[in-house]
């Protein structure tokens, strides 16, 4: 098979990443961590969760694309990995959607209702 010949030549499939790229990524990740800790002391109301999740996702993308070499990987591997998040999303969305629907008045907090009642009265 033709790959045999290539194998003798050296870096036929290894793809070492340049060191500055790795170091730069690490610095950006650290910076983002500092930002996400810093922003926690401000109150952005309901945007809070969104902001931290966006920052976390940027970090995850950096780790995935560069440290995990996804940016240069085979499309199928990328598909697998991204695909898994699609299914996670599906799972969490549907379950959360349902629990949000039913949470409102069908779920009493049992110990409040039974035992704490006299405290209220």
């Amino acid at each position: 098979m033709s790959a045999h010949e290539n194998a003798q030549e050296g870096y036929d499939f290894a793809h070492p990443l340049p060191l500055p790229l790795l170091a730069g990524t690490f610095l950006v990740l650290t910076l983002l961590t500092v930002i996400t800790v810093a922003q926690a002391s401000f109150n952005f109301g309901s945007l809070d969760v969104l902001i931290v999740m966006v920052i976390a996702t940027i970090k995850a993308v950096l780790v995935g694309a560069i440290f995990m070499h996804l940016a240069w990987d085979k499309p199928f591997n990328i598909l697998c990995f991204i695909g898994s998040f699609v299914f996670v999303g599906l799972f969490i969305m549907a379950t959360l959607f349902d629990s949000r629907q039913t949470a409102k008045d069908d779920i009493p907090v049992l110990d409040d209702a039974v035992v704490a009642a006299p405290a209220e009265m």
Partner: protein
């Protein structure tokens, strides 16, 4: 193997060449050579023995259930023998444990590994033209994980039984004093076994295809296995975490599923069914693959609508992830979610229907041999169609309110799981048995077993549809006298079914003793496994196989003199070795 080593212009005149070499069964001896084997075929055979044992155990438990239900108040577990065996257990408790273990053993130990792990292990690399799966050691560890899981199940059985139902619903499973932790640990381990098998097959099919084996030259069994593997890899981890959380709930009361600590049982059901609905397709998809092979080989006709069948397997695998809510229509899920899940549920019926139509169309104008595997395949289509169609009653909300958790559901899923998976598993075993052990079995015996299984099965489960629609709830140890006649009919059916299965076992065992030697290609199949000797040599192929069309029967003829199928003058050329394995071909031909 590199295609470069195939001399150009090489022609396989007679695939039934005698083997000069030892086969995989004889190339090394001793129990250790089996216990530490990395050969996928041996691992497949060990799986076959393992799952058959589990099936036997689960089947005996099923017979126990049916015998007990012969009379409205139960007749088996309140019998003196059982009182003597388990004096501190009420008959109802014994019944509950028996049906739970029947379900758990059949699902986790038998059906899920049956076709993918036993037949799949044996066949996937051979059909693909590879020497082995991508990770042989992972493959062996997957088998030992299966054994480990089985040990845990047996320990649960011996410790204090299991009475939660195979679904482990909280808060029952967090409060009962039966061995829930042992059983869930077993299921957790089995989950990893299943993941490793699936992972192995995906990688094998992706990276180990020899030159010429393009995606659309793969036999449909491989497509089905591939789809199954996708589900195994994606869904099983969720079962793993669910069971871990359940164990934590029992030991530490983490309050996620247990309402006593303000957890939510419906959340558990979401978690559980996110795995367990796709798991239903882990059970049935490989069966589809087997039937596609059986129908086309025994009709000696090209499979009809290859692409539709292949794509529908993938479609089923993906759609199976968005329909889990249909197990929870009455559970207290919100109405809007319920309606969405009902709508999604209907979508998954389309690809299944496509397959049935295609199989029937394949038989049209074929050259059909009514061999044992073919009869099983025909039985499969009949039974699976009933199972599939009755699913419509359950997916429709208004009727499901009435039918949910009744015998209608029991009948429906047994038509799919037994009428579908088990029948196709038997068909597959009969089909590939000559390849696996190199011996032919008694055709008459095989046909008798198929007939008994078909009759017994229908007699067992058809009455259960009526029981269900008349309102008989499932998992009842005793029942109202009005249901007695139908239950009795069902019990008679179960006995016939049991006899049929034993006949099948007997026929196969007899073939080992006095079966005549199997030729390489006893049925006239065109897929690669019929290219190697029966049983195959250690590395599957003595000469690198020429990858051709898996459904091209035109050049396979019956040679009356040689008394076997031979390949005549192959008209196709050897696929050029430059064709990279990853590039999909433009057509199936």
């Amino acid at each position: 193997m590199s295609a470069g080593s195939v001399p150009s212009g090489y022609e396989v005149k007679d695939p039934g060449y005698p083997t000069s070499q030892e086969n995989y069964l004889t190339n090394s001896k001793g129990i250790l050579s089996w216990a530490f084997t990395l050969d996928h075929k041996r691992i497949g055979m060990m799986y076959l023995i393992g799952v058959s044992t589990a099936f036997l155990l689960g089947g005996l438990l099923a017979l126990g259930i049916r015998l007990h239900l012969f009379a409205p108040d139960g007749i088996l577990f309140n019998n003196g023998l059982f009182q003597w065996l388990a004096p501190d257990k009420a008959p109802n408790d014994i019944y509950n444990q028996v049906f739970t273990l029947h379900g758990a053993i059949m699902v986790f130990l038998f059906i899920i590994p049956s076709i993918p792990a036993a037949l799949g292990n044996f066949l996937v690399p051979v059909m693909l033209g590879a020497k082995d799966v991508a990770f042989p050691r992972l493959n062996l560890s997957s088998f030992y994980l299966w054994v480990g899981g089985a040990v845990f199940f047996v320990m649960a059985l011996l410790a204090s039984g299991l009475d939660t139902g195979w679904t482990f619903y909280t808060p029952y499973s967090t409060t009962t004093d039966s061995s829930v932790i042992l059983a869930t640990t077993g299921a957790f381990i089995l989950g990893f076994s299943s993941i490793f098998t699936g992972l192995n097959f995906i990688v094998t099919i992706n990276t180990m295809r020899p030159p010429g084996m393009t995606w659309f030259r793969m036999p449909l069994f491989l497509w089905a296995t591939y789809s199954t593997s996708i589900i195994q890899v994606l869904a099983t981890p969720v079962l793993g975490i669910t069971l871990l959380l359940l164990i934590a709930e029992r030991t530490m009361h983490i309050g996620i599923f247990d309402p006593e600590y303000n957890g939510d049982p419906v959340t558990f059901q979401h978690f559980f069914w996110f795995y367990s609905h796709p798991a239903v397709y882990i059970m049935i998809l490989p069966a589809f693959g087997i039937i596609s092979e059986l129908i086309s080989v025994h009709s000696h006709k090209r499979i009809f609508g290859y692409r539709f069948i292949a794509y529908s397997s993938i479609a089923i695998a993906l759609l199976s992830f968005i329909v889990w809510g249909h197990h929870m229509f009455t559970s207290g899920m919100s109405p809007i979610t319920t309606i969405i899940f009902s709508a999604l549920t209907f979508t998954v019926s389309v690809p299944s229907a496509i397959k049935v139509f295609n199989w029937v169309a394949t038989m049209f104008k074929g050259s059909i041999s009514l061999t044992t595997p073919m009869v099983y395949a025909i039985a499969f289509i009949f039974l699976f169609t009933i199972g599939g169609l009755t699913g419509l009653h359950l997916g429709t909300l208004a009727t499901d309110m009435h039918l949910h958790d009744t015998y209608f559901v029991v009948a429906h899923f047994h038509y799919v799981m037994v009428g579908g998976t088990v029948v196709s598993f038997l068909g597959g075993v009969f089909h590939w048995w000559p390849k696996m052990v190199g011996k032919m079995y008694s055709e008459a015996g095989g046909l008798i077993s198929a007939a008994l299984v078909f009759i017994g099965f229908n007699l067992t489960f058809l009455p259960q549809f009526i029981l269900g629609s008349r309102g008989m709830p499932r998992r009842y140890a005793t029942y109202d006298p009005e249901f007695a006649p139908l239950h009795q009919m069902s019990t008679y059916g179960a006995l016939i079914l049991g006899v049929g299965l034993f006949v099948a076992l007997f026929v196969l065992i007899m073939s080992l003793i006095n079966g005549k030697k199997a030729p390489a290609n006893p049925w006239g199949g065109a897929t690669l496994e019929w290219n190697c000797t029966s049983p195959p040599p250690f590395y599957n192929f003595e000469r690198a196989p020429v990858v051709g069309d898996p459904y091209e029967f035109g050049d396979i003829r019956w040679d009356t003199e040689l008394d076997r199928y031979v390949k005549v003058e192959p008209e196709r050329e050897v696929v050029p070795s430059e064709t990279p394995a990853e590039t999909p071909a433009h057509a199936g031909e």
